[in-house]
Symmetry: C2
Subunit: 168 residues, 2 copies
DNA sequence: TTGAATTTTCAAAACTTTTTGAAAATTAAT
DNA sequence: ATTAATTTTCAAAAAGTTTTGAAAATTCAA
């Protein structure tokens, strides 16, 4: 397989993959393109490579920046802005975990704690099941939360090198 | 807060939460409803509680069954089918991980292995960056895969009770 | 300043996904 | 076998999301 073909495949699959993870196709594709581009590239490069409009590129690069996965780069002597992506996959994963934890897990855990406080007849089957389910999810989520915190703080070598040996 | 109100909140939030995870809103809401229902319920119960059409319930319950999260239950003397959800959150999580690994991670790792095999000039910056990125993701994905396998096989108490102590 | 290059915005259009609901199929009791 | 209850299917409608593109805003060099 030639590079051009492989690159197209990678970008397209990464885009499809992204949609399963609540990220939109184009945002994932731009990310993929930046991940395999050794040097920073411009809005126009992205527009041309992916055949998408300027507005679309603008919107999605800003979203990638908000996620902490992409950076604007200023190149001396160049008027236009360039973009580049963090290439270290561990850092990419950590960053995504951090953001999703903040945006999704933390608010959910907060809500569940509130929902556990319902005032109701504890002899009622429905009340009992509700409290049990909600607190079960909250406890599980709390453990996951702790675990993710450790991962976010962990050093790559320590984690992948040593921790995963524990699991084997 | 009263049970009815808390239940409505739980269902609605769980639905919104689901959309961030590639699961459709209604499927997640049905799942939430079943999670807090102590006894099996019918299509009509679901239709009424969530205000959705029969076809919608039918489609989404079948999807939940395909994910291994919900079961059809036959109640003696009843003509209609009843549905019930696995209540053990650890099992729910394990099941979801198992399915997503099979549907998403495994095919992605397979593709990445293929893409690493491109024939190209290794002195070319673009080729080098491509191979480096793809193999970086593949390696990381491979570790995640191993880790998830251990989790899937692990016993709840062993995992939550002991493993998480290691992390602290 | 002025004006050309560049980026940003956002309403409307295109596209995608989900939902509906009525007809068809299935099931089980009589 | 017939019938009534129940479930399934699926084309069309509704809802939701993403993309476009042109106008507005910004930036920077001369």
């Amino acid at each position: 397989m030639k590079l051009t073909e492989a690159k197209a495949q990678f970008i397209s699959s990464w885009g499809a993959f992204g949609t399963h993870w609540g990220i939109n196709r184009t945002m994932a594709q731009i990310h993929a393109l930046l991940l395999v581009s050794p040097d920073p590239i411009t809005q126009d490069d992205i527009m041309e490579e992916l055949n998408i409009s300027r507005g679309n590129v603008n919107m999605n690069t800003r979203e990638l920046i908000a996620w902490g996965l992409v950076e604007r780069v200023l190149i001396p002597g160049e008027r236009r802005e360039f973009f580049t992506a963090e290439k270290d996959i561990w850092k990419v994963a950590t960053q995504i975990i951090k953001e999703r934890k903040k945006r999704e897990l933390d608010p959910m855990l907060k809500l569940l704690s509130q929902l556990e406080q319902i005032d109701g007849d504890k002899k009622d089957k429905n009340t009992r099941q509700f409290i049990e389910t909600v607190s079960g999810i909250r406890k599980f989520g709390g453990e996951a939360d702790k675990m993710l915190d450790v991962m976010i703080r962990a050093d790559e070598n320590w984690f992948l090198g040593n921790l995963l040996k524990i699991f084997k």
